[in-house]
């Protein structure tokens, strides 16, 4: 009760002091504002980068395993050379996995290549051509916007049909519907039977919508005789992801005739690995960035300490009076700590406001960059600014609290 009363009194005094020295308070706060702006901007930028990555990577699906000849992450040239020498994953191997895998809800081969695509006199260069099966709709998590996806029999028969991405549709067909039109890829005609829903882009750069999907046999026959395939395996139950991964590993080893003593000659990739690597990188950026930006906050803190020493010296007599009237050390300490913390908190709030405005500006300029200020960042920044105040205010406040009332009263 008493401490609460003193706390309230201290807040009042602090507010009085800030108001009485407006110019000084503003200048002092400036250091904290700059500190908080740099720290929160850094944190928000890293946060946005993270979010952008996670948003993008989520299209891969957390419950999908990707078997391929090579790892997604190659850490050295030697590894690349070694993995590049592995035998290709053939369509025959994919079919055997399809037949034997138990813990999968869908399995699809996928092979891609970049080709120009044209319709009448319109042309789109470097479009991703993907050869796959009807199961791909499930493993990829794509959705159809118009028309339909390929059927099993179309895939079986290698029919010249295709499903196109949203970008391809808008690039080739301006006002007419793409359905049942024939597009041309490397001199072969393919009938458009469906258009995919728009999916956005990877970190605002590489579009996911610039693709043409066609039956795998058509792809092999027309564009690439002996490619290496990727096998996309959607696990029936994500809780058994690890079990399914083990089943898949055993199965692929058997199919590819890997001897028990030999290491895998293929890789099972998943979204998780990507995320882990990325998180390590952003973690480092965040740590280094916060350290550097934290310095500006530190400098701001020194400014606060300096001004608090001045404030204590100026109010020596007031401290003496307060002590004579019955203020304890604790009360005086609290008074100056709260004053320092209040100045810093005001600075922190102003800093947050500025960062918020900056965030809106960046978000307006780069619509694909999902930048926004998160509650944890705001809360943490405010806490940090208050903490800066308490830490840098402590020494001056301690000096004030320990003053001898007789000397303090004598001070002119």
């Amino acid at each position: 009760m008493r401490i609460l009363l003193e706390f309230k009194e201290s807040l009042l005094i602090a507010w009085d002091a800030v108001r009485a020295n407006k110019m000084r308070s503003v200048l002092t706060t400036l250091g904290i504002i700059i500190g908080i702006v740099t720290v929160t901007s850094m944190a928000t930028a890293v946060d946005a980068l993270n979010r952008a990555f996670h948003d993008s990577i989520s299209v891969l699906g957390a419950d999908v395993l990707f078997v391929s000849k090579m790892d997604w992450q190659i850490n050295s040239e030697a590894q690349w050379i070694a993995e590049n020498h592995r035998p290709d994953v053939t369509l025959e191997q994919v079919h055997r996995v399809e037949k034997q895998m138990l813990m999968a809800s869908a399995i699809a081969p996928a092979v891609g290549s970049q080709r120009p695509v044209s319709y009448k006199n319109r042309r789109a260069g470097r479009v991703q051509i993907i050869g796959t099966t009807d199961q791909f709709l499930t493993t990829s998590g794509f959705n159809i916007a118009v028309g339909r996806f390929m059927t099993a029999s179309e895939v079986e028969g290698g029919r010249p049909v295709c499903v196109i991405g949203n970008d391809v549709a808008t690039n080739l067909f301006q006002s007419e519907s793409p359905l049942h039109k024939k597009i041309k890829i490397a001199e072969r005609q393919l009938e458009v039977i469906g258009v995919l829903e728009k999916r956005g882009s990877f970190l605002g750069m590489e579009s996911f919508d610039n693709e043409v999907i066609l039956p795998v046999s058509q792809f092999v026959f027309s564009y690439w005789r002996h490619p290496t395939f990727e096998i996309q395996v959607k696990v029936r139950n994500i809780e058994h992801l690890d079990d399914a991964k083990e089943e898949l590993r055993g199965l692929v080893r058997k199919i590819r005739h890997v001897l028990p003593a030999d290491p895998d000659n293929f890789a099972i990739n998943q979204q998780e690995q990507f995320i882990a690597t990325f998180d390590k990188v952003t973690g480092t950026i965040a740590a280094v960035g916060l350290l550097i930006t934290g310095m500006s906050l530190f400098v701001g803190g020194i400014g606060i300490m300096n001004i608090m020493f001045v404030s204590v010296a100026e109010r020596t007599r007031e401290i003496g009076v307060r002590k004579a009237i019955g203020a304890k050390r604790r009360t005086i300490l609290l008074q100056f700590l709260i004053e320092a913390a209040s100045i810093c908190m005001l600075g922190g709030l102003a800093g947050l406001g500025i960062t918020y405005a900056l965030t809106l500006l960046v978000a307006g300029a780069f619509p694909y960059f999902p930048i926004k200020m998160s509650m944890p960042v705001m809360g943490l920044a405010l806490l940090m600014s208050i903490l800066t105040g308490v830490i840098s205010g402590f020494l001056p406040a301690w000096r004030a609290a320990r003053m001898n009332p007789v000397d303090a009263l004598r001070n002119e």
Binding site: L5, V321, A324, I325, L409
Partner: protein
């Protein structure tokens, strides 16, 4: 039992390797309700005595008993509590908080005593009214005359119903007419039973008290009843 009892109280200061005897084994008893003037030229030790009596300072040797408590052995925080509860200060330069209005200045000791807001305000208003400032409560010190400021300071000194009121040259910064008004107010308070100390070097001021203690060179040179004081 006496309200105040000093027994062989000494206060030494170290100053540039030199020891200064500000007070030399002073013994003194003051009863509740007395009105005492402490006189002496500057450097006589009267300020030191006043600081000791006000628990702003502690003695080097000897014992000081205030209202039954031996305060010579207390630490900083306990002394602060004693000052808050037992002593009301009136300073020569008023020492009001410049940014706070009269009411808040008077409330301050109550805040440190932990009195809840409602009671605090009521008690503070009472104190201000009793010094004749019932209509100046929202005024800040710089909006008041010297006499009014000193009245606020007296209200502040009174507000916790302390055992003693210590006034250090209370009229030093006032013209003689206003000074007289303040002395009348103090006498009035004395008549109501308050124990009052006035530290001064002016005979005219000391004459208001009923007992005059003269300090010289750290010793009590004279301690006598003042026949001319209030009966």
């Amino acid at each position: 039992m006496s309200l105040i009892r000093l027994q062989k109280v000494s206060r030494l200061y170290e100053m540039g390797g030199e020891t200064i005897h500000a007070l030399r084994e002073i013994s003194l008893e003051v009863e509740r309700g007395e009105y005492v003037a402490i006189m002496g030229p500057s450097g006589s030790g009267k300020s030191t005595l006043m600081n000791l009596l006000g628990c702003l300072d502690t003695c080097t040797s000897g014992d000081y008993e205030l209202n039954g408590t031996n305060v010579s052995e207390l630490n900083d925080n306990r002394l602060a509590e004693i000052r808050n509860r037992e002593i009301g200060f009136v300073f020569q330069t008023f020492n009001l908080l410049p940014r706070a209005n009269a009411l808040r200045n008077v409330e301050l000791p109550l805040i440190y005593a932990g009195i809840p807001a409602g009671d605090r305000k009521r008690i503070a208003i009472e104190a201000l009214t009793s010094v004749g400032l019932g209509d100046r409560m929202q005024h800040k010190p710089n909006e008041m005359s010297g006499g009014q400021r000193q009245r606020v300071a007296i209200a502040r000194a009174l507000v916790n119903s302390p055992s003693i009121i210590l006034a250090d040259e209370p009229t030093g910064n006032l013209d003689s007419k206003t000074g007289d008004e303040i002395m009348v107010l103090l006498r009035h308070l004395s008549d109501k039973g308050n124990t009052i100390f006035v530290v001064t070097h002016e005979e005219d001021i000391a004459r208001h008290a009923r007992r005059i203690i003269r300090i010289r060179d750290g010793l009590i040179a004279d301690d006598s009843e003042n026949k001319n004081g209030t009966p």
